[in-house]
């Protein structure tokens, strides 16, 4: 970092430099320009078009110019918000994503703590195995999971039957709403815990050993150390991990689409992304789909902003 950035952050007047004072006001913008241009191109414009399209009756006929474009204002939103299925799907999504986030954080966090106490070769093995899960594309992972849980030929049912649980002979894991969600959730947790584990592990490693040692000398128990020293110091990292997981799990598409073949029996396993694909894009109702996209963006931005505010209040920067 150059000294000028530091002085800007501190709000101090710029020391007299090579350039005149008039340039000073533009200087931060000058440095930010490349990032802004990329952001506007890749984020700003698409979001603008998304909002724009959501206000029109915009179907394939309109895209290819066969029918006149009709401005419907908030019509698409009205249609969505008055549809009970939309609310049911939103409820499913929140529950499902919430469940996945909690389990992912618990499993990932627990394994991270475990990793700090393992012998190096065991830890390496754990990491290599987890990286395998992490590196598996969602589509492949879902397909493999489905093979494992196949009603008649899957390893899981065969094992359960061999153990004497004959109720699992031909048992379909995707038929019941909650068992189908559970099955998908297990795949989601499986492929997303490594990120949590690695990040939290790095965070624990970054805590200076002196601090812990000092606490131990003062007579703190292991539980106290974890609660009052390690957790607060891990907070920024936990925040990132939680926000990431919420965004990630809220947007789940491939796993549900593949494992419940497009939303389960009579659409019982629809989550918002699959719903928007099915209702809007596969059906060529782009206006409606964009409205759904806008609603999702707003929800996710609200979640992120709340967390950012929480962190800011505590005086910690990310």
């Amino acid at each position: 970092m150059s000294s000028s950035t530091v002085s800007l952050r501190q709000g101090a007047p710029r020391p007299a430099g090579r350039r005149g004072p008039r340039f000073g006001a533009f200087e931060p913008w000058f440095y930010l320009a490349p990032a802004f241009i990329v952001l506007i191109g890749l984020l700003g414009y698409p979001i603008f078009q998304l909002v724009n399209i959501s206000l029109y009756d915009y179907r394939q006929a309109q895209v290819s110019g066969a029918a006149p474009l009709e401005f419907t204002g908030l019509g698409n939103y009205q249609q969505l918000l008055s549809d009970p299925q939309f609310w049911a799907v939103l409820g499913n999504t929140v529950l499902f994503a919430g469940f996945c986030v909690v389990i992912t954080i618990l499993v990932g966090g627990w394994l991270a703590v475990l990793a700090t106490r393992l012998r190096p070769w065991v830890r390496t093995l754990l990491f290599v195995v987890s990286m395998g899960a992490w590196a598996t594309p969602a589509v492949t992972g879902s397909a493999v999971w489905l093979f494992l849980f196949d009603p008649t030929l899957g390893l899981v049912n065969k094992t359960l039957v061999a153990l004497g649980l004959h109720a699992f002979d031909g048992y379909s894991w995707t038929y019941d709403k909650w068992s189908a969600f559970g099955l998908v959730a297990s795949e989601v947790v499986w492929c997303s815990f490594p990120f949590v584990m690695v990040t939290v592990y790095a965070g624990i490693q970054a805590i200076p050993t002196e601090v812990i040692e000092a606490a131990r000398l003062d007579g703190a128990s292991m539980g106290q150390i974890a609660r009052t020293i390690m957790l607060p110091m891990l907070r920024p990292i936990m925040m990132i991990v939680i926000i990431q997981s919420i965004i990630w799990d809220f947007k789940i598409f491939s796993q549900i689409y593949i494992m419940t073949s497009g939303g389960g029996v009579a659409g019982q396993n629809l989550v918002i992304n699959v719903y928007s694909y099915q209702q809007a894009f596969a059906a060529s109702l782009y206006g409606l789909g964009s409205a759904l996209g806008v609603i999702m963006t707003v929800i996710l931005m609200a979640v992120t902003l709340v967390y950012l505010r929480l962190i800011k209040k505590d005086g910690e920067a990310l």
């Binding site: 603008f48 394939q60 895209v63 110019g65 995707t174 060529s284």
Partner: protein, 434 residues
């Protein structure tokens, strides 16, 4: 706060932008006025798993065509069926990359017409000496507001496959009514507990439709240019009940069958795990070659509600059509008439097993190939089709029709409730279109 100021700026510019510009639309939708008699005619056909025989027939047709039209060349591209939606949409949006002639599924037709991509070929069919022999019910699947937008190239229908060995062992005869299909299936499963009495599926809509039609019901009716769902009529509900009766623990347990699509049901039969199944003429080769059922099965038309009658089958199949944006309209029409004509339909049947759409050609090939008889009889008894409107694509994508069967099969709804829900959902979609 920085963020809110930025947000305000974004909102303000968005509001400004909204009043200034509408979402992008292509200038397409209007017919080309050019009609060149030379140059390259671009053709899109679907690629097949078994591509070589199709290419060979098409190449013969091109040779014939180029010999009869000097100065014209034909450039064929084989496109994968999986990505056809994207391909066609792109072609409608950008006429310069569009073909002149294309093969497409008959259930996609209404959607393509609504997008303004297909040319009216009614005059081609009327002015064509072979046109009068096209099966009228199948030609009807290409018709919107009295105009034809495609020429049927081949047709596919489903019939009832059953295991002759298992029926004989159980002392049963082949079912002659839909009622007997149910009782036979139940008896077969009781005798062979590891198998499905008849493989049907909550998602296999094309085996559910014959039930609906056989009981006199229907999917939707058109009145004054607008469609209205017919699923809640008493006759329709009788058909839905008869079909969902099969999705029961003593025939085809919903645990297993509620999620089956059409292919999955045929796969069960091929694997020897189903005693009966509703499969298409296009499945016959695969079934006949399957070790588990080879030589142990027979096919009859899906019976109707009275003995001797045949349930109306769904007339699936593909058409050949002309793009509205084509700058070689006369050449394109001529090529369609050649490739979809009797001579090449016959060749396509020999190469690919595709059932011809001309009544006389059908009879002829059925005479030479005994296995086709139940399918040709089914077509002759009269077929039916999904509502020919772009909104059917929406209803299909949203799973409204199959969702109804799944709700009943899984015990989430009664037939009355599921049919009422589907009617409401369908009518909402029908009402939203033009």
């Amino acid at each position: 706060m920085k963020i809110s100021r930025l947000a305000a700026a974004v909102l303000a510019s968005a509001a400004l932008g909204l009043t200034a510009c509408a979402p992008p639309t292509a200038g397409g939708g209007s017919a080309s006025t050019k009609d060149e008699t030379g140059g390259t005619l671009r053709v899109w056909l679907f690629s097949e798993v078994n591509q070589d025989p199709k290419s060979a027939v098409v190449n013969d047709a091109i040779k014939d065509f180029e010999a009869a039209h000097s100065g014209a060349k034909v450039d064929v591209q084989y496109i994968p069926t999986d990505s056809r939606a994207e391909r066609f949409k792109a072609a409608f949006n950008d006429p310069s990359s569009a073909p002149d002639v294309a093969e497409f599924g008959n259930t996609d037709l209404a959607n393509y017409v609504a997008a303004g991509g297909l040319a009216d070929v009614s005059d081609v069919v009327k002015g064509w000496d072979e046109g009068k022999d096209l099966d009228p019910k199948i030609l009807k699947t290409t018709e919107i507001d009295g105009k034809n937008y495609g020429v049927p190239w081949f047709v596919g229908v489903r019939a009832l496959y059953y295991r002759t060995d298992l029926l004989q062992a159980a002392g049963l005869k082949a079912p002659t009514t839909l009622q007997e299909v149910e009782t036979t299936a139940r008896a077969l499963r009781a005798k062979n507990p590891g198998t499905l009495g008849i493989a049907v599926g909550g998602k296999s809509q094309f085996s559910a439709m014959p039930y609906l039609w056989a009981y006199g019901g229907g999917i939707a009716d058109q009145q004054n240019g607008k469609f209205a769902s017919q699923l809640s009529s008493e006759k329709s509900k009788a058909g839905i009940t008869a079909y969902t009766n099969l999705l029961n623990d003593d025939i085809c347990p919903p645990q297993t069958c509620a999620e089956f699509g059409g292919n999955a049901t045929v796969q069960q039969f091929i694997a020897g795990k189903a005693d009966m199944a509703i499969g298409g003429d296009f499945n016959y080769k695969a079934v006949a070659a399957a070790p588990a059922v080879k030589g142990k099965f027979a096919v009859i038309p899906v019976p109707g509600t009275t003995a001797g009658s045949i349930a109306p089958a769904f007339a699936g199949g593909n058409n050949l059509g002309v793009f509205k944006s084509s700058t070689h309209r006369t050449l394109a029409d001529d090529f369609v008439k050649l490739l979809a004509g009797k001579k090449y339909q016959q060749k396509m049947f020999q190469a690919m097993g595709n059932l011809p759409t001309f009544a006389d050609v059908q009879k002829q090939v059925a005479g030479d190939n005994a296995y086709l008889k139940p399918f040709v009889d089914t077509i002759a008894a009269g077929t039916d089709f999904v509502p020919v409107t772009e909104q059917w694509a929406t209803i299909d994508a949203q799973g409204i029709f199959t969702g109804m069967y799944q709700k009943v099969a899984s015990g989430k709804s009664t037939v009355d409730q599921a049919a009422a829900d589907a009617t409401t959902a369908m009518d909402k979609v029908f009402g939203s279109g033009k």
